[in-house]
């Protein structure tokens, strides 16, 4: 089931209506059932995977709680890591590694051919695998207690608002909320609906509106000019942002209707003044996951400059691979890591501190914001392209020259949509989401909601287009 389907709206209405009639235990049971219905809507066969993944870490968590011997604890953690990452490796990376190894061996002069399998990637696998792994690692590190209530644990892993594309939650934040009583808070619910509304606007109007042009420009048939490819790349930057941030806004807003607070996942990333800030504002739950469970264990920035650079490159490369089993994603990650090097050098030699997200960007920061945006934009070409030869084709065609008149003329309606999005987000950049309007008078708010809904009806694309990040 996807958020932008009519079925989901009915589903949400039914679950919400029942939920607040129940006590906490039954609420958790309802959320568990709802999560499995929501996930099984795609393919019920993958429910077993979700059940298996949750069960393994529930049991491992309990065993870790009982064990004091370091060797046994390590063994338990390794079992969880091997199982969860093994699932991910099999479903997501088997064909990629088999194919790449065969190509490498052939290039070295060996005769090699591995069988690739016709594997369907279960939706959201990377997300819930990382969520459940974070729980086991935190229990291993004694940062959180093993959770004994099976129902709460299962409901935590399968919580439908964030099950398939995050935010990737930590047990310390979300699991504890399942263990606590939840009282309906009307202000929280109202704000949740507002956030959902903005998410729907981002997805249905902006992201899906841009998708048609982007798909056309990036189709593997020739004949698209450099100008159109450039425009398609700009549009893709906003498509992927609105697609993913739109999903996240709906997820967070939806969770708030049920009394839960999910972590923030986007904080107006295109207003970032450098690449480090961008990664503090883009897919925050994944960035912090890699920081806590990969970058810091590798040594983080505590060692030499060279070691810090190495750690950064490793984290970004792995992050690229997390997105998909394709060299384009690996290079996309590596490129973002390379963008970091000047910042690391600056920090090392000038002793500069990290940026402060609480200080919002001003217009005087426009040059640095534009530079950051264009660095990100160049990397998006790798992310969107089908393979590396298409990346070469795109950069090569753009380099042949730009027809400025065409660039200004084409896709005017789409540019106006982007302009509207940017203006609203710029004005609201110190708020947690762009439709946080609680300070405005009631009639103005009501007018804004209705205007936005009419905008969605008018300009929306209602095709049940899946969210891009579901494939990861």
């Amino acid at each position: 089931m996807i958020f932008n389907s009519v079925a989901f709206l009915f589903f949400l209405f039914i679950v919400f209506s029942l939920y607040w009639l129940l006590d906490r235990k039954k609420q958790n049971l309802l959320l568990l059932v709802a999560g499995y219905v929501f996930y099984g809507w795609w393919d019920w066969r993958f429910l077993s995977l979700l059940l298996f993944s949750s069960s393994v870490d529930y049991v491992v968590g309990l065993q870790l709680g009982k064990s004091v011997a370091p060797r046994r604890r390590k063994l338990l953690l390794s079992f969880s890591l091997v199982t969860q990452l093994g699932l991910l490796a099999f479903f997501k990376y088997f064909n990629f590694f088999a194919d790449s190894t065969a190509k490498l061996l052939t290039a070295l002069g060996f005769e090699a051919s591995f069988t690739t399998l016709n594997i369907v990637l279960p939706v959201g696998l990377s997300f819930y695998t990382f969520q459940t792994l974070s729980y086991t690692i935190d229990v291993y590190r004694r940062r959180c207690e093993p959770h004994r209530d099976l129902l709460e644990f299962m409901a935590f892993i399968s919580f439908f608002p964030q099950l398939v594309a995050g935010p990737i939650e930590r047990a310390t934040n979300l699991l504890n909320q399942f263990a606590a009583d939840r009282a309906f808070n009307v202000e929280k619910a109202k704000d949740g609906l507002r956030q959902m509304l903005w998410g729907y606007f981002q997805k249905v109007v902006v992201a899906d509106g841009l998708a048609e042009y982007v798909n056309w420009a990036y189709a593997p048939v020739g004949g698209v000019s450099g100008t159109q490819l450039l425009l398609g790349t700009y549009f893709f930057a906003f498509q992927i942002y609105c697609d993913f941030a739109g999903y996240t806004n709906i997820a967070i807003g939806c969770a708030r209707l049920f009394g839960f607070d999910l972590m923030r996942n986007f904080a107006y990333p295109y207003f970032s003044r450098n690449i480090a800030e961008f990664w503090q504002r883009w897919h925050i739950s994944l960035s912090t996951w890699f920081r806590d469970y990969l970058y810091i264990p590798l040594g983080g920035s505590r060692g030499t400059l060279q070691r810090t650079i190495f750690n950064t490159l490793v984290v970004f490369t792995v992050s690229g691979l997390w997105h998909g089993a394709n060299w384009t994603f690996v290079i996309w990650g590596l490129l973002n890591g390379l963008y970091f090097i000047p910042i690391l050098l600056q920090r090392h030699f000038r002793g500069e501190e990290r940026g402060n997200l609480r200080v919002a960007a001003g217009l005087r920061d426009l040059p640095s914001m534009l530079l950051t945006f264009h660095l990100v934009l160049a990397a998006w070409v790798f992310f969107r392209a089908k393979d590396l030869s298409q990346v070469g084709h795109i950069f090569g065609t753009i380099a042949q020259g730009i027809d400025w008149e065409l660039l200004l003329r084409e896709g005017l309606k789409l540019k106006l949509l982007i302009a509207f999005l940017l203006i609203v987000e710029w004005l609201q950049r110190d708020k947690r989401h762009a439709l946080e309007l609680s300070a405005l008078p009631v009639p103005v708010r009501w007018l804004a909601y209705n205007a936005l809904l009419v905008g969605i009806l008018w300009f929306g694309t209602f095709k049940d287009a899946p969210f891009i990040y579901f494939q990861f």
């Binding site: 209506s17 607040w20 056309w216 009419v454 209602f462």
Partner: protein
Amino acid sequence: MQTGPYRFLLRTGLVLLPVLALMLACEALLWYLGESVPVRRAATRHLPQEGSPAAYMPWFFSQQFNLFHFERVKKLRPALLVIGSSHVTRFRQEMFNPDSGFYNSGRTIGALGDLEQYFDACDALGYAPKTMLLGVDHFWLNNSVPQEGVFMKEIGKDETLDPKAHLTAYGRVLDSARAGRINAALIRAVIDRRDEGVKRYGLTAWLSAGLRNDGSNQNFDRSTPEAYTNLLPASVEAVLQGHRQKNRPILAPGAAVDPALLQRFEAVLIKFQQRGTRIIGFIPPMAGEVRGLYANHPNHYGVFADFREKIPALFRQHGWPLFDGSDPASVGLDDRCMKDEDHAQETYHVALLRELGRDASLGAALSINTNYLQSLLVDAGTTVWFPNYPRQPAALSRVN
């Protein structure tokens, strides 16, 4: 039990009342225009009307020709079936004898896969036409055009029953209202026509365009001769761009007929024949500029020349009659009979049938209404652009 959540739901409903009212108004308009009538019901109720008016053509919903035509075919089981792409939609019942069992299922075959699926769907019904007049398009045999087909998929679902399609339609209503296409005069015109006793499905049908009871398509506008020349791009590069942007398979580049596709095409026609269908083919016409484009750029459009050799050979081999009408001159006309670069007006179809009817056996198989054709041929008003039909091709010149 907490009452707050339910008060919250009620309050949300109140806040959204204006937009809900707007949606209701859109839905009412769509219902009033017959846009949201399920296609199966529209196809069943699409009865013969006096004067054969156009009565089915949604504007705000997708037109769903495949579903509509197939529902009509299921109901009528026509003995004489016209089939093809949009190039065949102007064959009309009047051109054939009243008892011919004619139905025009044009605009259903956009790719070879559609033809295969059309056969499978008919076969599943246990139906096969006695005679099939097939407009054969060269892009069915061009491997740079997707040939999967959508016929089965489209006859399997009715968009009017899909809430998403309703939401899309609301957007189109709002857009039309903003652009002034929906206004008081239009609504008045629709209201004025409601007492004509014709059931119409879709705004376009209310404006006298769309599918008639015989399945043929009726357009309310007629393009000027300049219009189609303006449609044609000036260069191959522009053609490629146009193809990519508008997804027009007729201009898709292709070096030659794909042998595998030709084999599939032959196989499906043999299947029809094995079910007792007599196959009669023709190659639909194109304006001079399009034919010129193909001729001048053989590297890009060799497929067309190859098609004109291989298809007649294939038809000959099986004893199926085929008329190559790709040049309007082949039926004694010129580009003035074209509506645009690849769609002909009724005159062309009349002239084509006259040519086919010269063979008595074909005339009988097609049940051609010779008297009607003759009356059309002497009628100066046959089409706007061809007032003096018939004339000798040599005496004609392009209208500029």
